[in-house]
């Protein structure tokens, strides 16, 4: 539409228009008047009978004058309308400047109704489009924020796998980030499959990588693959159980030195389907893979540990039944061994069951009224031989003011044995262990403090993770499967308490078990 108002554009046009109309109308009247005057002249110059002879003139005059008057009247309203519309220069946005008319009659009423309708619609449209625009803007802004925050890489490619857009995390995930600046701009236009092929770990048996990349490049609405990649520069090889057995699956040979990505490709939703391109989701699943592998390793170890006592049971039972001439002492000894091995097996089964429950999150806590001091004392007695054998001294300070708690005696017993046992395991000979139990504001706090090897800051929170074992020679020398503290924390939390730790490497650690002890515990 023309932004220049009509008025400025051609003033002559407007006035001509108006003038033409007006002139036409006035012309009629004028003409009529002139004819009237002429007729009057003629009439005065001739006699009365001249009226009859001059009747055509009369008719013409009257008709002309009449016509002019009617015209004037008829055109008044359209003329007003025309004038009002000219005000807006034909711009619907200026319809608010158009005025309703005073008067009555169908045209005036229609005109006024039309203006009212137009104004109402305009207001609604403006409000609607404003609301719509604001809503869309804020939604877009929110989505953009989400894209920057989400912990996965999101990529959009065209049907030929050229990157059209990628959120900030993608560069980091694909190991392509080296500075704050080299992010999305560097990725646009690059072929995502090429990048993935470059970072994929190519091992002698790299069937997996090739196969997986092939699946991504192929058809299908939605494809998800797992890709083993060269490690990121700052990846730590940490506490990953490596197997010395060459018969293990090659894929997991050196998982500690790899990064694992889960990559999903789906067709971009839209009218044209996959002609539009693809949406990709990239996630770092290294942690999950490592946890899985650690769990598998644990299961393998567990199976081995179960079969060993079973082998003994069978061998000794057979020896007793088949061998002739076994002395009485030997028979007794063998029977004792069978009993011991049965106990060993039984403990292992309990242990495995606990691990299974930990994994499934289904540990059950009994609810009984318990005396924390008694449980602690029993645990100390149980672990005393281990402490003495380790050449360590033990101090205890158990407050007489401890309140009763509600909980599971066996599990708490196991937790305390674990904590004290750890203190003994990781404290070199000549060191000491201090056990303190006190009531602090409705909580029973049991501290197990040692002067042992301590735990580094970066491991401090991780020691409570399942299967986690700190990577250092002191720890690896000791037997352990990384489950004790995970179990302990789970038990503490199920009692509505917790376990906390403070430690200084080289100086020692303090593990504190917090158990709620309200004034009136519910006994079962």
């Amino acid at each position: 539409m023309n932004s220049e108002p009509l008025r400025e554009r051609s003033p002559m046009l407007v006035s001509t228009d108006l003038a033409r109309g007006l002139t036409l109308r006035l012309g009629f009247i004028f003409l009529g008047l002139i004819l009237l005057i002429l007729f009057a002249n003629r009439l005065s110059m001739s006699n009365v009978s001249g009226v009859n002879a001059n009747w055509p003139w009369l008719v013409v005059m009257v008709a002309t004058a009449f016509g002019g008057i009617i015209n004037l009247r008829l055109c008044r309203i359209p003329g007003q309308i025309q004038a009002e519309l000219l005000q807006t220069d034909g711009d619907p946005r200026r319809w608010n400047e158009v005025r309703p008319m005073v008067g009555s009659g169908p045209i005036v009423d229609s005109w006024n109704a039309l203006i009212e309708q137009a104004n109402r619609q305009r207001t609604t449209t403006t409000t609607e489009s404003n609301t719509a625009t604001t809503a869309l803007d804020s939604q877009n802004a929110l989505m953009a924020r989400a894209m920057r925050s989400v912990s996965a890489g999101v990529v959009v490619t065209d049907p030929h796998f050229q990157i059209v857009s990628a959120n900030g995390q993608v560069a980091a995930l694909l190991g392509m980030e080296d500075s704050e600046n080299s992010r999305r701009s560097d990725l646009r236009g690059k072929n995502i499959l090429t990048i993935l092929a470059e970072i994929a770990k190519i091992t002698p048996d790299s069937r997996n990588a090739k196969q997986n990349l092939g699946r991504l490049a192929g058809g299908g609405n939605a494809v998800t693959i797992r890709l083993q990649c060269r490690p990121k520069p700052d990846a730590t090889n940490a506490d990953f159980p490596t197997s010395q057995d060459t018969t293990d699956t090659p894929f997991l040979e050196e998982p500690a030195e790899s990064q694992f990505l889960r990559i999903s490709r789906t067709r971009l939703a839209g009218r044209d389907g996959d002609k539009d391109g693809f949406a990709w989701l990239i996630q770092d699943i290294t942690q999950q893979i490592m946890a899985s592998a650690a769990r598998d390793q644990f299961l393998q170890t567990a199976t081995h540990e179960l079969r060993t006592p079973l082998a003994n049971l069978r061998a000794y039972a057979e020896a007793l039944s088949i061998e002739s001439g076994v002395s009485v002492e030997e028979q007794k000894e063998f029977c004792n061994i069978i009993t011991d091995e049965t106990n060993r097996l039984s403990r292992l089964v309990d242990h495995l069951l606990t691990v299974g429950q930990l994994e499934a999150g289904s540990l059950i806590i009994q609810q009984h009224a318990l005396e924390p001091a008694r449980i602690l004392e029993e645990a100390i007695e149980y672990t005393r031989p281990q402490i003495v054998a380790g050449g360590l001294t033990l101090q205890t300070d158990i407050s007489p003011k401890l309140r009763k708690i509600t909980g599971d005696k066996d599990k708490l017993h196991a937790v305390l044995i674990n904590l004290i046992g750890n203190a003994a395991k990781y404290t070199p000979s000549g060191g000491s262990i201090r056990i303190v139990a006190k009531l602090r504001q409705d909580t029973v706090e049991i501290k197990v403090e040692d002067t042992g090897i301590g735990i580094a800051a970066e491991d401090l929170e991780r020691v409570f993770e399942k299967f986690y074992r700190v990577e250092n020679e002191h720890v690896s020398k000791q037997a352990g499967n990384g489950l004790g503290l995970a179990f302990a924390r789970e038990v503490a939390r199920l009692h509505h308490g917790d376990i906390t730790v403070e430690s200084q490497p080289g100086e020692g650690s303090v593990f504190t078990l917090h158990l709620p002890a309200p004034d009136e515990p519910r006994a079962s």
Binding site: Q244, T247, A315
Partner: protein, 131 residues
């Protein structure tokens, strides 16, 4: 009467080692034991033996590492070896038997009598008797 055949048993579980030694000596063999792969390797280097019965997973040197070592040595290439393992179906025993020329792979828990039967097949008690 020849000399009794010498068997080396490499096994890290002391309790199991004892009962195997018990069963094999009662069967007439001369039994030596080693608590892990490294000690077994040293024993084989120092003394000759007619058959090796070895566990799979041991500290310091596993059964597989031990096998890799001895099959690389000329004199030990044809030494009969029986592998005992606590690994079950996850182990590819066929592959291992082919690769290392094993006489047998026994899965724990197994009957010690079965071990004696297998041994008598590859390694007679009396070394001068015909097999």
């Amino acid at each position: 009467m020849g000399r009794p055949a010498r068997i080396l048993v490499a096994e890290d579980d002391a309790v199991f080692r004892r009962v195997i030694e018990f069963t094999l000596s009662r069967a007439g063999y001369q039994v030596s034991t080693a608590a892990n792969g490294r000690l077994a390797k040293e024993h084989l280097a120092a003394e000759s033996c007619d058959c090796l019965v070895t566990d799979h997973q041991m500290p310091e040197m596993s059964g597989i590492d031990l096998l890799n070592h001895i099959r690389a040595i000329e004199e030990l290439r044809t030494l009969p070896v029986i592998l005992c393992t606590a690994k079950g179906l996850e182990l590819d025993s066929h592959f291992l038997m082919q690769r290392y020329g094993l006489t047998a792979v026994l899965h724990k828990p197994f009957s010690p009598r079965k071990l004696v039967d297998i041994l008598s097949g590859c390694c007679a008690v009396d070394t001068e008797a015909a097999i």
